[in-house]
């Protein structure tokens, strides 16, 4: 038995099975994972790794295990999507931990959170003074959403009655030296317009540009391959690694 070869074949099977199941299970980001999702991910990953290297049993039982966990996870997702009440039990719900500036200590105890944990989460949000907080909500994924008291909220253009033009989102016109004609047409521009604009930046050919974007307000961002920066600032605190 060529164990190395078998492990390679099994690794290919586990890798792509995991990839397919992960795609089916959804697009949740790591930061949005609940505690259960986190454990689920670890378990499924561990089954896949066993399927790869545990040659004392066939790959099939591991695959069935992987499939069962993925199906159950999908079922849970479906139930919580269709049934709000079940979602509250399965995924948990947001809990108000600070209300009108007052810490809800009973709730904190229930959630097994210490006041120092809340202070840490507040500091992560750049809040160092509890007096600034009006409401704080502990989300099911463990993050803290904070509403500051009105007097601590930043001044906006609306408060000052200043009109602001919408900037819209930037669209890539050139990416890695290649023109994206589809986006150019979408922005109602043509290649001649783009070349005229690029000439202002000293670019004669699209291949000289690394990235060119345009937003709805007409603001163009151009980055060349040749950045003309003689010395790149080193922000490391010690020499190396080379």
């Amino acid at each position: 038995m060529n164990e190395g070869l078998v492990v390679v074949v099994r690794a290919i099977i586990s890798f792509f099975t995991l990839l397919i199941f992960a795609k089916i299970l959804g697009k949740e980001q790591i930061s949005q994972l609940t505690f259960f999702d986190y454990i689920l991910g670890i378990t499924i990953g561990s089954i896949a790794s066993e399927a790869t290297v545990d040659l004392s049993s066939r790959a099939w039982p591991h695959f069935v295990g992987l499939l069962s966990w993925a199906v159950l996870a999908y079922l849970m997702q479906y139930i919580s999507l269709k049934w709000r009440y079940a979602a509250k039990i399965i995924e948990g719900e947001p809990v108000i931990v600070i209300m009108n500036g007052k810490i809800m200590d009973n709730i904190l105890r229930q959630m097994k959170f210490r006041a120092s944990d809340i202070l840490e989460l507040l500091r992560n949000q750049g809040i160092f003074d509890m007096n600034e907080v009006d409401y704080a909500i502990l989300e099911p994924n463990g993050s803290l959403s904070v509403l500051k008291k009105p007097e601590y909220l930043p001044l906006t253009r609306k408060d000052m009655n200043i009109k602001a033009k919408p900037t819209g989102i930037s669209t890539e016109l050139v990416y890695d030296g290649k023109l994206i004609e589809q986006n150019l047409q979408q922005m109602n521009k043509d290649k001649r317009w783009l070349m005229n604009q690029l000439k202002k930046y000293g670019i004669r050919d699209v291949s000289e540009a690394f990235l060119v974007t345009l937003n709805d307000a007409g603001s163009l961002y151009v980055d060349k391959y040749n950045d003309e920066i003689k010395k790149v600032k080193d922000i490391g605190d010690y020499k190396g690694p080379y």
Partner: protein
Amino acid sequence: MRRILIIAIPVITLVLFVLIMHSGNFLKRPMGKDDDIPGTIDGIIEAVRNDSWDEADSRLQGLESAWKKVLFRVQFGSERDEINQLTKNIARLKGAVTAKDKSGALMELNEAYMHWDELGN
């Protein structure tokens, strides 16, 4: 078309994987004249019962070469332990045939048969 491909590729991939994982069961079946393991085991049992040790020895060599061929095919869909046990049975059988030990040889042959049945299941 693209939508169909996006669905078809993962489905085909998973079906292919399942086939590879179950390949041990159908790839262990004889595909030529010299890779019939159960047939060869039967032949050796018969030779041992009749005390035809020379015939048993020549058939045993056939079993060894057949096992080498089949092993490469079944390794992706079988347990390592079953494979190793069957390999050990053949090695011990070799000793029993050399020593003309009838009971030992029959024990090994029957155990080899059992491991063969379990292979890929």
